[in-house]
Subunit: 357 residues, 2 copies
C-alpha cells in the first residue's frame, strides 16, 4: 500500500463521539422478501403507502421513518434541533413534503444515493460543534418514483441491462447527538444500546465529485465506483490507515459491476479492500432469486441497510469499526438527454462501537 | 411588539465573526441593464455563456463565479476546504457540473431560491466550528433553464400573471473563513475590506418548511412569504430583538406581492418591519421599465444582490447590521401537476460590519 496525497485533507476527526441515539428503517415488500427482511422496523406491503401517487408514497414513508426514529429516541419532533434530509426526486420533494409538517429547522440536501452519508456527515459536524442536542438525518427512495424520475414509465415494461440496479423502496432515519442513547424499552426490535455499548460516529471524510466521463445511466455502479475509490483512498490517506483497520468497508450501492471496478481501481493504487468490502446494494437483495441484476440502489438502500443491519452489528461488537461509504450518481434526465456524463460522489462515515458508563 | 415562542430555538450565535473573505457575482444581460448593473463583477451578454444548452450555461456561470470568488480571496481551489452549493434544477445539475471539476469536497444542497442562505448558514457553522479555513458558498439560477424546469418552453411565449416573478440569470459565490480578508489589490471593483472594516456573519437562524396550502406556482412570493415571516419572527424571538436593531431586513425574492403579504403577516404579530424591509427581487430589476411583474427571483437573485450590493454597503459601514433572508419555494413540476401545495423556506443570516486590526 502506497498512499500519496492528491489534494488537501477532506476529513474531520471528532474530539468526542457523536452518538447514534436511534435509527429506524422502513422498507417495501420486495426488500422485505430479501435477506435483510427480518431486520427492518417496518415493511409496507402497499407500494403506494396508502396514498395516490408514488411521490406521496415516498414522502409518507420518509415521514414515518423519521417519526419512528424520533420516537425510538424517546423524543418529540420539537426536541429535534435540526434535520438534514434529501432524496432522489427533482427539487427533493419527497423530503420537503415528508418532513415538512414536523416544523423542525430544515437543511435540504442533494447528494443522490449518497444522501445518508451527506446527512450524517453534516449532522455529526453540527453535533460535534455543539449546535444541537438531537439532530435528525434522513433520506428515502422509492422504486416507482425513481423509475419515473430517471428512466421509463413502469407500464412500458422496459428491459434492463444486467449492469442496472434496482432502486430500493425504503427510508432510513437516525437521531444523533452528544449523549449516548438511553436503554431501550423492551419492545424495541433493535436496541441502540446494549448494556454499556453503543454506536457512534467518530470521523468523516467529505466526498468530491469525480467524473470519469461515463455516460451510461443504466450502469450507475460503474459511474460511482471512481468516487468511492477517491473517498476511500482520501480517507485512508488522511488518517494514515490501511483497510485492515476496519472490520468492514461498506459502500452504498455499487452493486456487482461497481464493486469489481472499485476493487480494480483501488488495486491500481496498491490498496486491497477485498477482504473487508461489502456493498449495501448486494446485501439488501438476493440477486439469484430477486432479479435485481447488479444489486440494489437508491438513497434508501444505504440508509435502510445502515439502520437495520450495520448498526446492530456495531452495537453488538461484532464489528468494532466500520467505514460506511454511501455513493451517489450525479445526473438528471435533462443532463442525460443532453449527453452529459454521469459523475459520482461518495461520503465516508466512520462508525465505531463505543463504551459508555 | 409581542414575541411568543412557537417552538424550540432555531438560531446559532457564533462566538467570533465568520469573515466574508471574498464575494463574486456574475449576471446576465437583463440584470446588467437593471438598477444594480454597475455593481456586478461580470455581465455576460450571451445568455448561453458560450455553451450549447441552458443547463451548461448555468453551470459555466456558477463555475466562473466560484473561480472569481476564489481568485479574489487570493486562493487556489485546492485551498478551499469544502463547498456548499446548489441550484434550482432537478438533481442540482448546475452545481454538480459547475463546481465538480474543481476537486473540492462537496456538499450539495437543495433549498430552492433560499440556497444562498442555506449555504452561508452551513458554511458559517463549519467555519465557526473550525472545520475549515476557507469555505466556498455558491449558487446560481438562469432564466431559461428555470423556465424549462418549472414552467413552459420559452418558444411558447406564454403570458405571465402580474404575480409572477422573473428568474434572475446570475450566480453569486462567497469564500468565508475565520480570518478577515486581506487588503484588496487595486484592480478589485468591490473591495471586501476597507482599511480595518469588513463584513462578517455573526448569527444564523435556520428556516423551517412552512406550508399555508397555496398552490399557485406563478405566485411564488405569496407561497414564500409565510416562511419569511416565520424565520424573521423566530430570529427576533431567539435574540430578543426588534426590527430597529437592523439597518435592513432583506428577503430574497418575495417581490411586490410577497412583500405585501410578509408585512401583513408580521403586522398580525405586532411586528412592523416596513421601515427596514427590502427585497432582492425588487432591488435587481426596475419593474417600471423591465417588465418583470412582481420582481426578480431564483437562487441567483439573492446571491448576486448580496455579493454585488449588500456586502459593499456593510463593508463601507452604511449598514452596521443586516438580516439577509433568502426565501425558497418548495415544488417540482411533478408535485405541481399532482396538485400539491407550494411550501416555502427561508434561512436568515446576520451580517455585520466588523472592525479588524
Amino acid at each position: 500500500m502506497n498512499l500519496q496525497k492528491t489534494q488537501g485533507a477532506a476529513s474531520v476527526s471528532f474530539g468526542k463521539p457523536v452518538y447514534i441515539q436511534s435509527a429506524a428503517s422502513i422498507a417495501g415488500k420486495k426488500e422485505g422478501e430479501g435477506p435483510l427482511g427480518s431486520c427492518f422496523d417496518m415493511i409496507c406491503e402497499d407500494p403506494l403507502f396508502g396514498t395516490d401517487t408514488w411521490e406521496a408514497a415516498e414522502s409518507t414513508m420518509q415521514k414515518e421513518a423519521a417519526t419512528l426514529a424520533i420516537g425510538k429516541a424517546g423524543l418529540k419532533p420539537e426536541e429535534i434541533r435540526m434535520v438534514f434530509a434529501g432524496d432522489l426526486l427533482a427539487q427533493s420533494i419527497a423530503s420537503s413534503f415528508g418532513i415538512a409538517e414536523m416544523g423542525i429547522p430544515f437543511y435540504g440536501l442533494y447528494g443522490a444515493c449518497s444522501t445518508m452519508g451527506e446527512s450524517l456527515s453534516l449532522g455529526s459536524m453540527a453535533v460535534a460543534a455543539g449546535y444541537g442536542e438531537h439532530i435528525l438525518c434522513a433520506t428515502s427512495s422509492h422504486f416507482a418514483s425513481a423509475e419515473k424520475e430517471f428512466r421509463y414509465p413502469l407500464g412500458y415494461g422496459c428491459q434492463r441491462p444486467l449492469s442496472a440496479t434496482w432502486t430500493v423502496t425504503g427510508s432510513g432515519a437516525c437521531v444523533i447527538g452528544s449523549q449516548p442513547p438511553s436503554f431501550p424499552s423492551s419492545g424495541d426490535a433493535i436496541p441502540l444500546r446494549l448494556e454499556n455499548s453503543c454506536a457512534a460516529i467518530t470521523e468523516i471524510t467529505t466526498g468530491k465529485i469525480i467524473d470519469y466521463g461515463f455516460k451510461d445511466s443504466l450502469n450507475m455502479g460503474g459511474c460511482m465506483a471512481p468516487a468511492a475509490c477517491d473517498t476511500i483512498y482520501q480517507h485512508l490517506y488522511d488518517f494514515g490507515r490501511s483497510p485492515s483497520d476496519y472490520d468492514a468497508i461498506i459502500t452504498g450501492d455499487l452493486g456487482l459491476v461497481g464493486q469489481k471496478i472499485l476493487l480494480d481501481l483501488l488495486s491500481e493504487k496498491n490498496i486491497d479492500i477485498s477482504s473487508v468490502h461489502q456493498d449495501c446494494g448486494l446485501l439488501i437483495f438476493d440477486n439469484s432469486t430477486q432479479d435485481t441484476h447488479s444489486g440494489g440502489s437508491g438513497c434508501g438502500c444505504a440508509a435502510t441497510v445502515l439502520c437495520a443491519y450495520l448498526l446492530p452489528k456495531v452495537i453488538a461488537g461484532e464489528w468494532k469499526r466500520i467505514l460506511f461509504v454511501p455513493t451517489g450518481a450525479m445526473l438528471s434526465k435533462v443532463s442525460f438527454n443532453e449527453g452529459d456524463p454521469v459523475s459520482g460522489i461518495a461520503h465516508a462515515i466512520v462508525i465505531e462501537q463505543v463504551t459508555v458508563s
